[in-house]
């Protein structure tokens, strides 16, 4: 869907039109006091409701086909979470081969998403420079910096990750793969060989990404300072899925939360999520603010007393005790050594986490491909009558994703509840904007570079407002208003 152009410059409103690199539709309000310093900030999201209602009255087994339509960027996450919820509705456990195939598909999905975010969305800030001229601070600037061959590697490996999902799921964007109790087709030997070659390339590329991180970010003192900077520091709780050894797992496990000191704050099975996650509502935002129930809602503040938690890559690393593959484990240890604290509270470290997870997903994919069961023919368990309710959870690239369905005794959908990652990070993103704006905007000095650095606080979460609002809309701009204390607009930045 294509929307009309930008309004351009009019009156006191200054419109700056380079493309931002945020997935979604959001508005940031920054209110300055009489001295031109930040008094308050708000992050607001415009929501189109009704997707849950659209699902009501349909046979539940249709949902894995419908749910990925929420998002053209992370359909794989919605597809697999939905398939798991439908398994639960039918009370069926997928076969071992089916679980491995789903996890393999999912590793490719994580790689696809993380490559896109790191190089295309965050890369311009981190690799070109946060305050560089906006005409250079884009993907072409990244190519210029890294060279065209590296650029081709970015696109080629992202495409491999997409191709794996296509080979396994029929279609990558809206797969026809997960079915109640399993998957729609086995993996043929020749497909396995093709996929293996692609995973080998993705593994090499993931290692290149971490080398690049070391050379371009860690070895530059100013970037190291930026990573540790107070402008991008929040002490919150963290949540994510871990396996039985408390290692990061995207597909299956328990949900674990740790407090800002790293102590376990909650551990629960996915189906128990409503006992642990509360949702606060603010009158100025359409998005809810999930929080840890056992800690409670204390407002948009960080610290041990506030139940605000974060999800996504860094959160997954913070709640785990390591990575289940050797190279990713090495990279994991290096990150904690760099910061010298655990959990790491540096918001920009979400980017580092993505690179570590990309490496893990590539290693894990190759492990699964070495397993003889991966080409097994037992791809579906027998499905009986629906038990009427089911929860499916995966770690989406952006964080923990909950799908919860209730049906009647014929399996017709009565209720749907989705909690997506971006909504869970809503409070933390609001806090991050406030922290960054307060530290960076001083005495009316608001340059494009400074505003980009405020945006970087949001971008670190890789938000997907399309997912958060359960729609796939054509144009989803970020509007950033800076107001004087009396409400008059001082500056506006629209990033279409």
């Amino acid at each position: 869907m294509i929307h009309p152009g930008n309004p351009g410059e009019r009156g006191k409103v200054v419109t700056i039109s380079p493309v931002t690199r945020l997935e979604g539709h959001a508005k940031v309000e920054i209110i300055l006091d009489d001295n031109g310093n930040v008094q308050d900030t708000y992050l607001q999201v415009v929501e189109l409701r009704g997707f849950e209602r659209f699902c009501q009255g349909r046979p539940v087994e249709e949902l894995p086909g419908i749910m990925p339509r929420i998002c053209g960027v992370c359909p794989g996450a919605h597809h697999i979470a939905s398939a798991k919820a439908v398994d639960a509705v039918f009370g069926v456990e997928p076969t071992e081969t089916a679980k491995k195939l789903r996890e393999l598909f999912y590793c490719a999905h994580i790689i696809h998403s993380h490559i896109a975010h790191f190089y295309l969305l965050a890369g311009p800030d981190l690799l070109v420079g946060p305050t560089e001229d906006p005409t250079e601070r884009n993907i072409f600037g990244v190519f210029k910096k890294l060279g065209m061959e590296f650029g081709r590697q970015i696109i080629a490996n992202r495409k491999y990750a997409q191709r794996v999902q296509e080979l396994m799921g029929g279609k990558a964007t809206h797969p026809v793969f997960g079915l109640p109790g399993g998957v729609s087709k086995p993996l043929r030997r020749e497909e396995k060989d093709t996929i293996e070659e692609m995973f080998k390339s993705m593994l090499d590329f993931a290692r290149m990404g971490l080398s690049l991180w070391e050379d371009a970010i860690l070895r530059r003192g100013d970037y190291g300072d930026l990573l540790r900077s107070d402008a991008y520091y929040l002490e919150t709780y963290y949540m994510g899925m871990v396996d039985r050894n408390r290692k990061v797992n995207f597909y299956e496990g328990e949900i674990r939360a740790v407090d800002p000191r790293g102590r376990e704050a909650a551990r629960f099975k996915p189906k128990e999520y409503l006992d642990f996650i509360g949702e606060h509502v603010e009158p100025w935002s359409y998005l809810k603010f999930p929080f840890l129930k056992n800690i409670g809602w204390r407002g948009i503040i960080d610290g041990e007393g506030s139940g605000i938690y974060r999800v996504n890559s860094l959160a997954r690393l913070n709640v785990s005790e390591g990575m289940a593959t050797p190279l990713a484990q090495e990279a994991y240890e290096k990150m904690y050594e760099f910061f010298g604290e655990r959990p790491v509270h540096a918001t920009l470290a979400f980017h580092w986490g993505r690179l570590i997870e990309t490496l893990y997903a590539a290693e894990r994919g190759l492990e699964l491909l070495e397993d003889p069961e991966i080409t097994g023919q037992e791809i579906r368990a027998d499905v009986a009558r629906p038990v009427g309710e089911g929860v499916g959870v995966v770690e989406a690239p952006r964080g923990t994703l909950y799908h919860h369905y209730k049906t009647d005794d014929k399996g017709i959908v009565q209720r749907v509840n989705l909690i997506v990652a971006t909504v869970q990070n809503n409070a933390a993103m609001s806090l991050s904007v406030k922290k960054a704006a307060s530290k960076l905007i001083r005495e009316w000095k608001v340059s494009d570079g400074i505003l980009n650095m405020v945006e970087m606080a949001i971008r670190a979460y890789d938000p997907c407002i399309g997912c958060a609002t359960h729609t796939l809309i054509g144009q989803m701009p970020l509007k950033l208003n800076i107001r004087k204390a009396d409400g008059e607009i001082y500056k506006t930045l629209i990033r279409p």
């Binding site: 869907m1 294509i2 929307h3 009309p4 152009g5 930008n6 351009g8 039109s17 380079p18 493309v19 931002t20 690199r21 945020l22 997935e23 979604g24 189109l48 009704g50 997707f51 209602r53 659209f54 419908i66 339509r69 053209g72 960027v73 896109a116 295309l120 884009n138 993907i139 072409f140 190519f143 065209m148 650029g151 081709r152 696109i155 495409k159 997409q162 990558a172 964007t173 809206h174 997907c464 399309g466 729609t471 796939l472 809309i473 054509g474 144009q475 989803m476 701009p477 279409p496």
Partner: protein
């Protein structure tokens, strides 16, 4: 000569899915036609970069999507552009998850200049921005689909 015809949209967002309906109708018509050129018809609901990646190795692309017009008189109107002809400011508005179509094609072109098609024709159907989820087209847009199909077939005939 190899042509890609790509219908774009979200089938759960009412009229936004029009491009997919056009692609399906075209598939039926094309299968009955004898053409000198190779025509591949695809559907996509993905981001523009993924869509741009699909264009590699084609000589020409015809992309069918919707344009939000939000004016009754423009609903159902068919707009046709050569992507090269659009001015920069307008180009930035071609957003799907924030990367414009033009930018996405330029990314691919900068890396694979020989393999990326020079010509990308956009055929857009004017719609009111959908406010609720639906798997059905509005009556106005449903009536327009055969006209869009004809528009695309005419475009293919010119190349053939």
């Amino acid at each position: 000569m190899k042509i890609l015809v790509l219908g774009v949209g979200n089938p759960t967002l009412g009229d936004d899915g029009s491009g997919l309906y056009v692609a399906r109708e075209l598939r039926k018509k094309i299968s009955r036609k004898k053409l000198k050129i190779e025509v591949v018809i695809e559907e996509s609901s993905s981001d523009w970069l993924t869509i741009a990646e699909k264009m590699v190795d084609y000589d020409e692309v015809i992309l069918i999507d919707t344009a939000v017009v939000n004016e009754e008189r423009l609903v159902g109107r068919i707009f046709k552009f050569d992507l090269k002809g659009l001015d920069k400011r307008y180009e930035y508005s071609y957003m799907l998850h924030n990367l414009s179509l033009s930018s996405a094609i330029e990314i691919i072109r900068s890396l694979s200049p020989e393999e990326t098609p020079e010509k990308v024709i956009l055929i857009l159907i004017g719609i009111i921005e959908p406010k609720e989820f639906s798997d059905k087209l509005s009556p106005t847009i449903k009536r327009i689909i055969p006209k869009v199909v004809k528009e695309v077939l005419d475009e293919i005939s010119k190349i053939n």
